[in-house]
Amino acid sequence: MRSFSKLLLIPVLLVAFVFSNAEAQIAVKGEMVYTMAGDPITDGVVLIKDGKIERVGSASDVSIPSNYEVHEAKVVTPGLIDAHSVVGLAGHLNQEHDQDQLETSSAIQPELRAIDAYNAREALVGHLRDHGITTVHTGHGPGALISGQTMIVKTAGETVEESVVVPAKMLAMTLGNNMSREISKPGTRSKGIAMLRQTFIKAQDYLEKRNGEEEYSKDLGMEALADLLEGKLTALVTVHKANDIMTALRLQEEFGFPMVLDGVAEAYLILDEIKAAGVSVTVHPTMMRTYGDGKNASMETAGKIYEAGIPVAFQSGYEGYVPKTRVVLFEAGVAAANGLGKENALKMLTIDAAKLLGIEDHVGSLVEGKDADIAMFDGDPLEYVTNITGVIINGEKVK
């Protein structure tokens, strides 16, 4: 967990404190248990103690202590992970007062923290939770060159402090023709890149000062960019067209910071280039509307990226109208049916997303010692007509 600084550990400990000991110990029995760490277990059992997974195995090997509350389901998976959303900053009402995912006063604002705008009680967070999604990478949305920071939360908790897992994870960036019209500058793609390059060059100078002996005046935006250049933050670049994806990779090569490509509707045109760059991808929702920069989106893209061996996870993305959020479980289902396959879709929803977000030591698979985040289903998790029968987060039954 290289990315966890000391500061970041405080909320993690808080989460552990809030959820530990308070709840009864739980056993979850599943006719099929997808641990995502080895083959699925038929008639499996997951024991949960103090918010963590205590033991996982076949019902014939694992006996359930008598004081454990038992839950049964047809299918059990790790809690699902949404690798990029804006829920909690964007609310369901779609009124000015519940839309905090994009500040339009200027094009570059890396100092904006997601934790200062996240509404843990937002109904859309509950909507995702009810669909088995227990961890969400959320924060500032697309629409500005650098719109602000993102964070990782659990979908439980009533305050951001209770929910947060990683308070600052990535810097949300946007390239191409997806800029908000409310931001006057840049007016062209190349101007946008010039602005970003000049900003990163300033950040390089700032970082030099920060690492030097002499006093310097602190700049919150530059602090975030210096963290990016040092690899403490990752650039999350929303971009769709192949030429703009190449531009993103060019920036990454020039400044050397870690990058996740987000959306990438035309990724299938340049899979080799993306793979060679060593970046990860949060692929656009499979059912994304085909217009604007994303008009060439394909339902087969997730499968093609996976097949190419590029680290990839699902996102719910950003929706400006109806519906106000997508659900990665649904996007995964349609991707599974369009070349990805069911097992790969489940991996992308769980352990692969956890690895992409750097939280695989805590979540993403049913392994002893990890957080007890579990989704229960009455059938194939990806089927439209399957219902989620239970959700557990940090050992607490939340649905």
Binding site: H92, L269, K295, N296, K324, R326
Partner: protein
């Protein structure tokens, strides 16, 4: 040079002989081995479907007689069901009334639709064979809607579904209440004003109708032609259905109240808060065309929408249909909309009807399409599996005996999956047009 010209001539002869679809209408087509879901009855395992001259000539079990000259298609393991009917869509890149007025009964969306729009390919890929394309909901009356068969077409006339013998009526009338039509010069500022403006215009239409009746065929006594009022007279005479966009429970009841005052046929559209007034809708005997979504929200008056609306309306005894409202949901995934309703408790039977016969009834075309019955139009789809499974694909779409989509053809499949330069037109997202959902 000669050869290409000759093949061009041959191709033209082919078009003349077989029509634009390139498929002979005179040879019967028989489909065997599939499970047939006729909607009009129980599913038939190992069924036989025979179509000829654009019509269904036989549906039955494995012993159904197949004409000797028929082309036989073995579709064992597949599912055949009626072509899907969508009661509310914005495909075709059409438009409706402008901002000059809140009331445009004179405006026809058929005058603005591009029959070559790639959105039609998209809809065929989703198994949709009949559709009600509507103008938006930013007006109390945004214009006349158009009912289309998604035949391969050069002109909009090639696609029209005529409802009368004179071939003058081929759609309904779009109305809207709630917040979308509010605001701006010439537009209402409140809900009560909205209702008053609609009532006022219908009163005028009743007077216009009375003058026409009083003229009793005497041309000299006829009132001056008013194409807007003429349309409303068609509504008053029950020849043209009102499709009323409505979300909030009280707006739903207002839409019903106005339809009862003037006695017109009403289909409630969207009906987001139907779960609150399902019994009242049932009592009024008004059908409801609803939508299922990946999440609630995005629009204030639709914030309390439930995917369980289908279940509540079914339980109350309402005729329930589903619609795509494309681009709010995607025509390629119309069956998914029904599956999401099943997920929330609607019966499989009602959900299957909600994308077929229920919608055909709302468009008064139930005697032509919506079920697989002898004598009806040969509108059907061939599915790879259960209609409600995420893993199922629409493999073929047939309209009036012609195949208009075949997933095994890469040039067709791309409209099902998307890809590089497949969709050129912009999707009608409503968002930038002031909201339509």
């Amino acid at each position: 040079m000669l050869k290409p010209i000759r093949s061009l001539v041959l191709a033209l002869v082919g078009v003349l002989l077989f029509g634009v679809n390139g498929f002979s209408q005179s040879t019967p087509q028989a489909f065997t081995g599939a499970q047939i879901i006729p909607i009009s009855g129980e599913p038939i395992n190992n069924g036989v479907l025979v179509v000829e001259d654009g019509k269904i000539t036989a549906v039955g079990g494995e012993n159904t007689r197949i004409p000797r000259n028929a082309d036989v298609h073995d579709v064992s393991g597949k599912i055949i069901m009626p072509g899907l009917v969508d009661t509310h869509s914005h495909i075709g890149e059409g438009d409706g009334g402008d901002r000059s007025s809140a009331l445009h009964p004179d405006v026809r969306i058929m005058d603005a639709i591009d029959p070559r729009s790639d959105t039609f390919y998209k809809a065929r890929a989703g198994g949709i064979t009949s559709v009600n394309i509507m103008p938006g909901s930013g007006h109390l009356m945004s214009g006349q809607t158009v009912y289309l068969k998604l035949r391969e077409a050069n002109t909009i006339e090639d696609m029209l579904i005529y409802l009368d013998e004179e071939k003058t009526i081929y759609g309904g009338l779009k109305m809207a209440n709630g917040t979308n039509p509010l605001g701006g010069s010439g537009f209402p500022g409140t809900r009560a004003k909205s209702a008053a403006m609609v009532r006022e215009l219908f009163v005028k239409a009743e007077e216009y109708q009375a003058k026409i009746e009083a003229a009793d065929g005497d041309e000299s006594k006829m009132p001056p032609r008013d194409i807007g009022l003429e349309t409303l007279v068609e509504v008053l005479e029950g020849k043209r259905t009102v499709h009323n966009h409505t979300h909030r429970h009280d707006d739903i009841l207002t839409a019903i109240r106005l339809s009862e005052e003037f006695g017109y046929d009403l289909v409630l559209q969207h009906v987001s808060e139907a779960w609150k007034v399902a019994d009242e809708i049932a009592e009024a005997g008004v059908p409801a065309s609803i939508i299922t979504l990946d999440s609630f929200g995005g629009k204030l008056e639709a914030a309390e929408i439930k995917n369980a609306n289908g279940k509540y309306l079914e339980e109350a005894g309402v005729l329930v249909g589903l619609h795509t409202d494309d681009g709010i949901t995607d025509s390629r995934l119309f069956l998914r909309s029904a599956a999401l309703a099943v997920r929330e408790g609607m019966s499989r039977k009602a959900a299957l009807e909600s994308v077929t016969i229920a919608n055909a009834k709302m468009m008064d075309i139930e005697d032509r399409t919506g079920t697989l019955e002898k004598g009806k139009d040969a509108d059907f789809i061939i599915l790879s599996g259960d209609p409600f499974s995420v893993y199922t694909h629409v493999e073929q779409t047939w309209i009036e005996g012609s195949k208009v989509f075949d997933r095994s053809n890469e040039d067709h499949k791309k409209y099902a999956t998307g890809g590089y330069e497949v969709f050129r037109g912009e999707v009608h997202t409503h968002h930038e047009m002031g909201g339509s959902q």
